[in-house]
């Protein structure tokens, strides 16, 4: 009856959106979707289409090309290692910063976010200068026979740098929220401190640690600026995948660049999916993210 004519929007959109008295949904949703599509979705789709147009055989040949493969291996292998180091030290740092009181704690806490705020090129030249054979750290390390700059080890250092805040910041709120009473319960039940740590306190933190690990890994795989200065960029040794994309582009080898980019994108999306599943699991299992 007249109702349907009076409220066509409420009726028609009912299945998509719960009707609301608040204004502005169409406008803001429209802007959001348009902007997202133009800036992010369409360009990424173009990349994937371009990769697909090379054909699976061609793509496979490009990906398994010895130099490309070496770069991908370097990127993924070192990213995994860096994320693992970050996860361990991230937990330690989060624990110390939340549980202990010591002078300068606040400033150190703020400093943890430095890799988020410091432009990657600045971090890159700073690390290169620190670990160069004549640098503050490079010189003593050289004396011990360890060469960091211009080797895979240099890449690892840079990746640990960029990934660290993810691992600290995902775990930190959970350490702060640890239920004191379960620690107390463990103590009353006669558990030693170490046993309490391992059996009661750590398990709920593991999903957050894994989330931090995945975030640090995703960031490390794509990292460019802070790595290239300290990496040496030797093909087959210390050449990372993002750098190879830049090199291919400079050679106008769009197909090669696209193939490597597509592989990296797929890996990032897998990591993103893993993060979402982890957080879902954590929410259901422990009631928090």
């Amino acid at each position: 009856m007249s109702k349907a004519a009076a409220l066509p929007a409420g009726r028609g959109a009912a299945r998509f959106r719960r009707p609301s008295a608040l204004p502005g949904f169409r406008l803001t949703f429209g802007i959001t979707l348009t902007y997202l599509t133009l800036i992010v979705l369409l360009p990424l789709a173009v990349l994937l289409l371009r990769a697909a147009s090379v054909g699976p055989a061609g793509l496979w040949a490009l990906v398994t090309d010895a130099r490309n493969l070496a770069a991908l291996k370097t990127s993924f292998g070192l990213s995994l290692a860096a994320a693992a180091i970050d996860a361990v030290f991230g937990l330690l740092i989060a624990w110390v910063l939340t549980r202990y009181r010591f002078p300068g704690r606040r400033i150190i806490d703020a400093l943890v976010d430095l890799p988020f705020a410091l432009p990657t090129a600045v971090a890159g030249i700073a690390l290169a200068s620190l670990y160069a054979p004549n640098g503050w750290l490079g010189e003593p390390l050289m004396a011990l026979g360890i060469k960091v700059a211009y080797t895979p080890l240099g890449i690892l250092v840079a990746l640990v740098f960029v990934g660290l805040p993810f691992c600290v910041r995902t775990v930190q709120p959970l350490v702060a929220e640890i239920d004191k009473s379960s620690e107390e319960a463990a103590a009353i039940l006669g558990a030693s401190r170490f046993r309490a740590l391992v059996t009661v306190i750590l398990p709920p933190l593991i999903p957050a640690m894994l989330t931090g690990f995945a975030l640090a890994f995703a960031r490390a795989v794509g990292e460019y600026g802070s790595v290239i200065f300290v990496a040496g960029n030797l093909p087959f040794v210390s050449e990372i995948a993002p750098l190879l994309i830049v090199i291919k582009l400079e050679e106008f080898n769009y197909a090669g660049a696209t193939a490597i980019a597509a592989v990296m994108l797929l890996m990032s999306f897998t990591a993103l999916l893993a993060i979402n599943l982890l957080q879902d699991f954590s929410r259901r299992r422990f009631g928090h993210v």
Partner: protein, 298 residues
């Protein structure tokens, strides 16, 4: 903290020289060792790189340091960086406000998918972010021939730099606002509506004040990234001195020319920007923690 709570619960007297509450915290030597390890790790990996920037910049004294800013190419790079941030940040603020309004104040299908898609640029390598625009607007790109015919320059020009910067800073504002606005719900807006306020007035006088600190927080992070972005911009810029060089790109060029004082000089400006960002961020977290509720890690 752990040492002062529940004094009635005492660890076994034998454990630890201090005895008190040994069961609820670690023994003192362990605490000290853990603290030193954590602080040492942070000092080694974070503080030293920061310090080296300023030390290198000032290694030849104040004169050469200051001279690195007056070079016309450096000035052009600073100007371009400011220009790019001045375009990209407001765009992402408008987008962030629209997205958070639609997502947090309404209930529709696919809301979580939309949130995931908004976060997508965070998991895309900056280099890939640059590449996608080259594939569209570059000489061999999708619209390349069209652009050449009409004399439109995007890649190796300022528009490309802006696009790449917008892409990498895309989620910053939205992801600060969405959880907060979801937490706040819709009653304040409803109250204003029952009082007869127009939608625009509701937004300006109720919604915006409610999220102002979170918005500032997002803008701070968005701006830091916009000014400091290197990978994405480096792919689309073509590094034309004085024209398409942003500050981070200029740092790279100077460094590769072994002009360390100038490279670290410009880098020190960016490092200062980072420190200001961190200070502002920490201040907001400390002073307005409740107004930033729902803020997650990045």
């Amino acid at each position: 903290m752990s040492e002062t709570t529940v004094p009635s619960i005492q660890g076994p007297a034998s454990r630890g020289s201090r005895g008190r509450h040994a069961a609820l915290t670690e023994p003192r030597p362990v605490r000290i060792a853990l603290t030193l390890t954590a602080v040492g790790f942070l000092g080694l990996f974070l503080l030293l790189p920061l310090a080296v920037v300023f030390v290198e910049a000032l290694s030849k004294g104040l004169g050469p340091y200051l001279a690195s800013f007056t070079d016309p190419d450096a000035l052009a790079a600073i100007r371009l960086t400011l220009l790019v941030a001045a375009i990209a940040v407001p765009l992402n603020v408008v987008f962030g406000l629209c997205a958070s309004w639609a997502i947090a104040k309404f209930n529709f299908r696919g809301r979580n998918l939309l949130i995931t898609l908004i976060d997508l640029p965070f998991s895309v390598s900056p280099v890939v972010a640059g590449l996608i625009y080259v594939l569209i607007f570059g000489a061999q790109g999708l619209f390349g021939p069209f652009m050449q015919r009409h004399g439109i320059e995007i890649i190796f020009a300022v528009p490309g730099i802006v696009l790449a910067t917008v892409f990498v800073t895309f989620p910053f504002v939205a992801r600060e606002l969405i959880p907060l606005m979801q937490d706040q719900g819709t009653t304040d807006e409803e109250a204003a509506l029952t009082l007869g306020a127009s939608p625009w007035r509701v937004f300006c006088t109720v919604t915006l004040p409610n999220v102002r600190w979170a918005l500032l927080y997002g803008v701070l992070l968005c701006n830091a990234r916009a000014m400091g972005e290197f990978g994405a911009v480096s792919v689309v810029s073509g590094r034309i001195r004085g024209l398409t060089n942003t500050m981070p790109l200029h740092v790279e060029i100077l460094y590769n020319e072994y002009n360390y004082v100038a490279a670290f000089g410009i880098a020190s400006l960016l490092a200062l920007l980072a420190l200001v960002t961190l200070a502002g961020k920490s201040f907001l977290e400390w002073r307005h923690a409740d107004a930033l509720a729902g803020r997650g890690a990045h």
